[in-house]
């Protein structure tokens, strides 16, 4: 096992309060990417 994640980083990753805000941020970001739409590629490049 090689320590690749620092103590501080691990604290941020696992702290429920910080992660709660991350959760809201992630949910919105994922929603925006999905709801951001999809479409053709052929028309765009015509």
């Amino acid at each position: 096992m090689t320590k690749r994640i620092s103590k501080f980083k691990r604290f941020v990753m696992m702290n429920p309060i910080i992660q709660f805000f991350k959760f809201i941020f992630l949910s919105l970001k994922v929603l925006l990417i999905v709801a951001g739409g999809h479409g053709s590629t052929r028309e765009v490049h015509k």
């Binding site: 970001k29 994922v30 990417i33 999809h38 053709s40 052929r42 765009v44």
Partner: protein, 485 residues
């Protein structure tokens, strides 16, 4: 009145059926043909496979829901397609064989006006000698029954480790051209965390084995992503996670034979090697179902409909990897020969590989096939349903809804461990799924910002929330349609 027949009740078939039923009045018939009696939320099989969820939490029976919603349901598997009908039946039809206990073995010709082939992949275990879930100490988590077996195997192993025995665990892909590395990635991290929870982690050597050339390829040629204020490649991120968790890896490995506790594989440099294990979970290759198709004179026209998977509006012209473009990817999932047949989700034949094709000196192709995850499966199913609805309502073909995987984002919230306070997730989003190297030449074909990674507890909560949200949606509870695919 139109009759829409949907083959398969997985993510894409069920999404298509539920939108069609909601938006079309009851003069139109919506019929689902699928061998499974249950709907299963496949992504949560990872947690079933480590015993942190019961399989009954990820499934529900389809027949009562379909009855309540006015969707016809035939628990049967389709075997052949007659898109022109034949001299007995004028309308196009499929032949299905019932698997339900009451009608087992009976066949029926099911006619249609529109056909949605959402049969996903065949889990092609036979393509790897000796790979058969639950035998040779090798398991799968591709279905809930497989995941239950995997959990039993893992429990037995943990019991042995608690007695002080050491164990070797191998998780990854079980074929040189397998896809769905994401599922194996989730499983290896969940197993690792479960071993820590059971306080036996020090007794296990865990190895990732995969047909990927680099870690984090995921069949998508890897990706460049933003991670906090950094920009990193997906292989760097996965390498960081694996090293941190003490997981070793073998790459460019085409597993070709499984014996009791022994996996044989060929490497990209042509060597034939083996790795022994006490527990393995290996994703099989995915293939088409081997359907046959016939014209009205009973001539075999399988080639018009299938190229392994179903042929759709993609550009299948063979060309070198360097020459393919994002425009080759389908947008409406309509079969070019029979315009009333569509294939969303995994059922359509991809035009080419996304990962760079690689061969060993012995000529064995060793690289991941292109994945199609849950989100694009749902999105493509909905757009197919919307085009059919428009065509029925406008009384002429309408293909306004388009969604190329080259212009569509996907979120892969990979579980990295279960638990409300100890869980973790590696959340990766990509836009677009198929890289567009012309549009995003400096960022490996993807839009940075929309392609990002995050690691932490929030990822686990998100994955759990998606589990409940998608099961709610699949059960068609009030306002289900507001939850996006």
């Amino acid at each position: 009145m139109s009759k829409i027949v949907i083959l398969g009740a997985g993510i894409s078939g069920h999404v298509a059926a539920s939108h069609l039923r909601r938006k079309l009045d009851k003069t139109h018939e919506v019929v689902v043909v699928s061998p499974n009696s249950n709907y299963q939320w496949i992504p949560s099989n990872i947690w079933v496979g480590i015993g942190r969820m019961k399989s009954k939490e990820i499934l529900f029976p389809l027949a009562p829901l379909y009855k309540k919603k006015g969707i016809g349901f035939k628990q049967a598997k389709v075997t052949s397609f007659y898109p022109e009908g034949d001299n007995e039946t004028e309308k196009p039809f499929v032949v299905a064989e019932y698997v339900s206990t009451e009608k087992r073995g009976e066949t029926e010709r099911i006619t249609y006006d529109y056909l949605i082939n959402a049969t996903g992949p065949k889990l092609n275990f036979e393509a790897t000698e000796g790979l058969n879930p639950g035998t040779n100490k090798a398991y799968s988590v591709c279905t809930y029954t497989h995941a239950d077996h995997a959990n039993e195997g893992l429990r037995a192993l943990i019991a042995e480790m608690k007695k002080g025995n050491e164990a070797k665990i191998v998780i990854g892909t079980g074929h040189a051209k397998a896809t769905c590395q994401g599922a194996a990635f989730e499983y290896i991290l969940n197993v690792e965390q479960e071993l820590r929870r059971q306080k036996v982690r020090d007794k296990a050597k865990i190895t990732w084995i995969s047909n990927e050339y680099e870690l984090g390829d995921f069949g998508m040629d890897g990706m460049l992503l933003s991670y906090g204020s950094n920009i990193m490649k997906s292989h760097e991120m996965v390498e960081m996670v694996f090293e941190d968790r003490g997981i070793d890896w073998i790459l460019g490995a085409g597993v070709n034979k499984i014996e009791d506790g022994l996996a044989h594989y060929e490497t990209l440099n042509g060597e034939h090697k083996t790795i022994d294990y006490d527990f393995a979970m290996l994703i099989p290759s995915f293939s088409g179902h081997g359907f046959k198709a016939f014209d009205k004179n009973n001539n075999d026209i399988t080639d018009k409909l299938f190229k392994g998977f179903m042929i759709v509006d993609a550009d299948y012209t063979p060309k070198p990897y360097e020459d393919w473009t994002v425009q080759d990817w389908p947008e409406t999932y309509q079969n070019p020969s029979y315009k009333n047949i569509f294939a969303p989700g995994i059922a359509f034949a991809p035009p080419h590989s996304i990962s760079k094709p690689r061969k060993s000196p012995n000529g064995t192709e060793i690289f991941p096939s292109p994945p199609r995850t849950g989100m694009p499966s749902g999105i493509t199913a909905k757009l197919v349903a919307d085009n059919i609805i428009d065509s029925i309502k406008n009384k002429k073909e309408s293909l306004h809804h388009k969604g190329s995987m080259g212009n569509m984002g996907a979120a892969c919230i990979a579980s990295a461990g279960f638990g409300m306070t100890k869980g973790s997730g590696v959340s990766i989003t990509t836009f677009p799924i198929v890289p567009d190297y012309k549009k995003y030449p400096d960022t490996m074909g993807r839009k940075l910002g929309k392609t990002f990674g995050e690691i932490g507890l929030a990822g686990h909560w998100l994955k759990l929330m998606l589990h409940y949200a998608f099961i709610y949606k699949a059960k068609m509870k009030p306002f289900w349609y507001l939850i996006p695919e």
